[in-house]
């Protein structure tokens, strides 16, 4: 049996004998991550790059929601990341995508660094997320994609960083296409995985909190900031050339 953080109701967990709970902790944990942003910013390519370790040669418009997953090793623990790659066209997000906001553990907002409008639409996407009752403490990251297109950059890094700061999100500029950036794309999702792993309370009592969402308990401002710092450190180490 796989432990499903989001689906296991708190009281159930509470009633389980301790030994079982401990056994459950040893099972592979699963985190759901939703990837959103305008059409054509590269959500499909980014998730494909991370889950299949290459840039898709024939990418297609996403209709509705696609699902990809990858198991990663975080500090010795096997963690399964389930990525929901959503359609960018407005008509889909209004009625079809809502379903997938439920029970997500993290959100990845993507814009296209060569397309200003995709960046300008970010507040809209963020607002929509908030509307879906998502806890504000759910880890979110902002990703500017396509930074291999060096002479077409339209969204200035400082501007994007300011924006990200104002929402308390780490910013990553990257490229799904550039093979040299492959590690960088991995690192972005790994950062998220780290954050999710560490945000997860180790002992079941935390789960008896009223919130259904596990990371509301521990994820306070400080942790958000730590995530941000780590993200920045990451940026420095493996900084995008644009």
């Amino acid at each position: 049996m796989v432990s499903k953080m989001s689906d296991s109701s708190n009281s159930d967990l509470h009633e389980e004998p301790e030994s079982f709970v401990i056994e459950k902790q040893a099972q592979r944990r699963i985190f759901k991550i939703i990837v959103i942003g305008d059409s054509n910013v590269g959500k499909t390519c980014l998730t494909y790059r991370f889950c299949s370790s290459k840039f898709p040669d024939k990418t297609e418009a996403t209709i509705g929601v696609d699902f990809r997953e990858r198991t990663v090793n975080v500090e010795g623990e096997q963690i399964k990341l389930q990525l929901w790659d959503t359609a960018g066209q407005e008509r889909f997000r209004k009625s079809m995508v809502q379903h997938y906001y439920r029970n997500v553990h993290a959100i990845v907002f993507v814009y296209d660094v060569t397309k200003m409008s995709s960046f300008e639409n970010m507040p809209g996407w963020i607002g929509e997320c908030d509307q879906h009752n998502l806890n504000r403490d759910i880890p979110r990251i902002l990703v500017g994609n396509k930074c291999d297109e060096k002479d077409k950059i339209a969204v200035n890094t400082n501007l994007a960083q300011k924006f990200a700061d104002s929402y308390n999100m780490p910013l990553f500029e990257t490229s799904a296409k550039d093979d040299e950036k492959a590690n960088h794309v991995d690192a972005i999702f790994m950062t998220l995985a780290h954050k999710l792993k560490n945000a997860k309370p180790m002992m079941p009592p935390y789960l008896t909190n009223h919130s259904r969402n596990f990371n509301t308990v521990q994820l306070g401002d400080s942790l958000q900031k730590r995530g941000l710092e780590r993200a920045r450190a990451e940026e420095r180490n493996d900084s995008c050339s644009c």
Binding site: V2, K4, D7, I30, K32, S39, N40, K58, T59, E60, A61, T62, I63, G64, V65, D66, F67, E69, Q82, A87, Q89, R91, F92, K94, S95, M96, H99, Y100
Partner: protein, 392 residues
């Protein structure tokens, strides 16, 4: 319900003869197994013979389109698709100027999607030819949109258009898609996707009637219906790799009720029941499993199964269940009489009124859902809609 009653409900356009012949031979629903093997050259000859007649017998052509093998070949499709859709290919309006086509609100999205449609062109196609076809694809889509202000582009519409383009060429494809967009595809082309969502709600009732355990499992997994969204709105063009297979489905859908893609979706899901039930009851797992259609499914058998499901559980019988699925407050104004009785107790104060599958006595067509329209508007709209439904 007896087989005879079932037959009496089969509208002509569905291929009455084809189904009733078989149904007569079998008393029970379970034994409605059709043979999916066919003799190609024999069928070809029959089709040619039908085409030689004047006037052409459209209902025979519909049967050919539905029965195993469909319309067999693109040369025949070029001839028969326009007849099935009652399109006059000798009077296709000329293409509007570039400024008009490119000035449309959806132009940019169309361009983005067509640029990413490489997978839809036969592998090995010369790049220059493909680029030319992609330009034509943009024009084809824009022609329809420009022609009907009320239609909205959706991602996936391009998957339908490319199929027609590859089979019949730009001009005829325009005429065919133009017609389909006002009929079979109309519900997908609203400003929003409410009606599309409603249509997806027919899936669970169909699955549930055949296999309640499977329905229950799927509901428990919370997988929803979005895994089948692209099947429905692209007529499977987005999810199948082989163009041969796609056009075979198109034969079937053109000749059938607009909800047939959902019946086919149910047939596919039911076919994979064991696999689904054996998987973990988890939204992601089930979505991942269902959204990937195995490319080697027995498609002819599934077409036949979809036809069976349609006859056993016609849309009108499912409407109520689908509405419950939709979980929307609304009052019910017109429907098949047996449903109407159930609903008479409902309040009429709600502003949202909708029609579920009105039956047009004259043609026997079952009509599509309408809602969020006030009653007064509805009557007029329905009449207009029903008119547009009759191919000829």
């Amino acid at each position: 319900m007896t087989a005879i009653e079932e037959i009496s409900m089969i509208p002509d356009w569905f291929g009455n003869d084809f189904y009733s012949d078989e149904a007569n031979k079998n008393n029970s629903r379970q034994s409605l197994k059709r043979k999916t093997v066919f003799n190609k050259s024999e069928k070809w000859q029959k089709i040619e013979k039908t085409l030689d007649q004047d006037p052409v017998d459209v209902s025979s052509l519909k049967q050919f389109a539905i029965s195993p093998g469909g319309l067999l070949d693109d040369e025949l499709r070029k001839e028969i698709w326009p007849i099935l859709l009652d399109v006059d290919i000798d009077n296709i309006p000329p293409k509007p100027g570039i400024e008009i086509l490119h000035g449309h609100r959806d132009y940019n999205q169309v361009l983005l999607d067509v640029n990413r449609s490489l997978k839809r062109f036969p592998p090995g196609m010369d790049e220059n030819i493909r680029l030319g076809l992609q330009d034509q694809l943009v024009d084809l889509i824009m022609r329809v949109l420009v022609n009907h202000e009320e239609l909205h582009y959706y991602q996936g519409y391009h998957d339908i258009c490319v199929t027609f383009l590859l089979v019949v060429g730009e001009d005829v494809a325009f005429a065919l898609v133009d017609k389909l967009s006002l009929n079979h595809l109309r519900d997908f082309m609203d400003a929003n996707m409410d009606r599309t969502k409603h249509i997806l709600n027919y899936l669970y009732p169909i699955v549930g009637k055949s296999n309640p355990e499977l329905r229950e499992f799927m509901e428990r997994s919370e997988v929803g219906t979005v895994f089948s969204l692209s099947w429905l709105i692209t007529w499977y063009g987005h999810v199948l790799n082989d163009l041969r297979q796609i056009v075979r489905f198109y034969d079937f859908f053109i000749a059938c009720h607009p909800l047939m893609p959902i019946y086919l979706a149910a047939a596919i899901v039911l076919h994979r029941a064991d696999e689904i039930l054996a998987s973990e009851c988890d939204m992601c797992i089930v979505h991942g499993l269902l959204s990937k259609i195995p490319q080697d499914l027995p498609f002819e058998q599934l077409i036949s199964k979809a036809g069976d499901l349609y006859l056993q559980y016609p849309p009108s019988d499912l409407a109520y269940d689908a509405i419950l699925n939709f979980q929307m407050t609304q009052s019910y104004t017109k429907a098949r009489s047996r449903n109407r009785q159930k609903f008479t107790r409902k309040k009429k104060t709600d502003k949202k009124r909708w029609f579920v599958f009105n039956q047009d006595g004259k043609s026997g067509f079952l009509k599509f859902t309408f809602w969020t329209v006030t009653t007064a508007v509805v009557s007029a709209a329905v009449i207009a809609y029903l008119r547009s439904w009759e191919w000829g």
